[in-house]
Amino acid sequence: MTRQLDAPADIGRLPKAEIDGEWRAFWEGTARGELLIQRCPACGRRQFYPRALCVACGAEPEMVPACGRGTLYTYSIIRQNLVPPFADMVPYALAMVDLEEGVRMMTNVIGCTIEDLKIGMPLRVEMRQADEGYWIPYWRPASDG
């Protein structure tokens, strides 16, 4: 199969994040094309998802930009999901990506075929707009230019 993995055709129907509190800055960042994680000014620990305190020392973390490069930690090809908009998206690659900064996040790998997926492969982030002010960080192979 050579079908290119992609975001759902019906991307506007994705479940929507309540953009609020300590998560507002993250979503505002993706809408600007910036992938933000957290760094603790007191102890230096990096963390994702964003929290109101550093899970290592309890201090208040700051949002910092990530470089947008990472590697594929693991994935699964989801072949059955009964709910929209994912029912029409299958098969798709549910994946975990390790960021160069040392944190991990969930994503869908896009821009390659299922056969191209290999744990450890380099990835780069790509934002796609799902709604007004709501952009989703997808990841695609870094080697495709």
């Binding site: 994705l14 309540e18 693991t74 999901n81 709910v83 908009p85 994912f86 996040m105 969930m106």
Partner: protein, 387 residues
């Protein structure tokens, strides 16, 4: 040991796998009624009550329904491992003298209500607004099986584990289900059947996934002293322990190291036992990978060796460590949260009540629940001899 040593005096199931005549509450009630019948206790003897907080009814509302006058009430929601966690709490309350007789009950009409045989729908869909940390997963179409599949994929990458090795776990559960007249599926299956079944979320096939059924259970725990007046041989709770490393799958620190790797050694240390002392295991088999990572975590084999161990035959009746002797969640019964069924089967083995599925000379049984997305594991080591 003092007279406050915790013992299980009753362990019963409600009707399964399909019970359209029972509501969720009626599963709780039927199982509790059967458990009371086993030990000769009455509702008025129960002064501690614990149930999962994830059902439609809470421990508080069920205590009212049963008219339990409780000194201790407990209800948490860590998914399917909840009942080993609740036993952990009940034992502490009994030892401390906060109560004398604790009941743990479970009921679910999942199959009758959902009408589905496979729980592979996503949690979140078009139109949902997500206010929790799930907002960092929901846009990507995460499913329950997908979470476990990502763990399996990583395990295969790190250790060379194969689909055929995972399939052995499903095959063995089906062999044991053939001995259980109530099991949902009893026809034999082969490794080829499992790996040839429809792929749901690579690398997990349909037959790597548990069934969806109805079912409930009840366990009554008291002190050794109180149990002296009751019929039947008590089952000793030798140790309990649990660990939660995350809730959402994306927060799992290491996808190939289950929380049982932390909880298991703690329980064995408390019991003064080692894995080789265990005669049978009842392990939460939501998916084949759940069992494989649990076996490694509990120390029945080395890290990364779960695949060869599963394929060694040790886990079938007649082997060194017979597993899921009722057929497990993979073939017999999984009504959403199977942890209490594990405890009931462990107790039945220790009482010698398992007929053709009886493990000979069974003295030590281990039940380990798993909840969420490999999120929390909690276990109990039980024995039929005084510690």
């Amino acid at each position: 040991m003092s007279g406050r040593t915790p013992v299980i005096v009753a362990a019963a199931l409600s009707d399964y796998p399909r019970a359209p005549h029972l509501s969720e509450r009626q599963h709780h009630a039927q199982a509790l009624s059967r458990a009371l019948g086993q030990c000769g206790l009455k509702i008025s003897d129960i002064d501690g009550y614990l149930a999962s907080s994830m059902g439609a009814e809470s421990a508080i509302s069920l205590a009212e329904y049963f008219r339990i006058d409780h000194k201790v009430i407990g209800g948490i929601g860590p998914g399917g491992a909840v009942f080993e966690w609740l036993l952990h709490q009940a034992v502490a309350h009994l030892e401390a003298g906060h109560c004398e007789v604790a009941a743990i009950t479970y009921g679910s009409d999942l199959f009758t209500r959902s009408g589905r045989s496979l729980g592979t729908a996503g949690f979140y869909r078009a139109g949902d607004r997500i206010s929790t940390a799930v907002q960092f997963e929901a846009p990507f179409g995460s499913t329950i099986v997908g979470a476990y599949a990502m763990a399996a994929q990583r395990h295969m990458h790190e250790f060379g584990t194969t689909s055929e090795q995972l399939a052995e776990i499903a095959v063995i559960c089906r062999e044991h289900a053939a001995l259980n007249p109530n099991a949902m599926y009893r026809d034999p299956i082969t490794v080829a059947d499992v790996v040839g079944s429809r792929m749901i979320a690579d690398p997990l096939h349909r037959l790597d996934c548990c069934v969806v059924s109805d079912g409930g259970a009840a366990v009554i725990v008291t002190t050794e002293e109180r149990a002296r007046d009751l019929p039947g041989k008590p089952v000793y709770v030798l140790a309990t322990a649990g660990t939660q490393t995350h809730w959402n799958i994306s927060e799992m620190p290491d996808f190939t190291r289950a929380p049982s790797a932390i909880a298991g050694p703690r329980a064995f240390e408390r019991a003064g036992l080692k894995p080789s002392d265990v005669d049978t295991v009842q392990l939460y088999d939501s998916f084949t990978i759940t069992v494989l990572e649990m076996l490694e975590g509990l120390g029945f084999c080395g890290r990364g060796e779960g695949g060869p161990f599963a394929a060694s035959g040790a886990l079938r009746l007649g082997g060194a460590l017979p597993m899921n002797t009722d057929g497990g969640g993979l073939s017999a019964c999984h009504s959403g949260m199977r942890g209490l069924h594990l405890l009931v089967e462990a107790v039945r083995q220790l009482r010698g009540e398992c007929g053709p599925a009886q493990v000979p000379d069974c003295k030590i049984a281990l039940a380990c629940g798993s909840g969420g997305f490999l999120s929390g594991h909690a276990l109990a080591i039980l024995g039929n001899e005084r510690p």
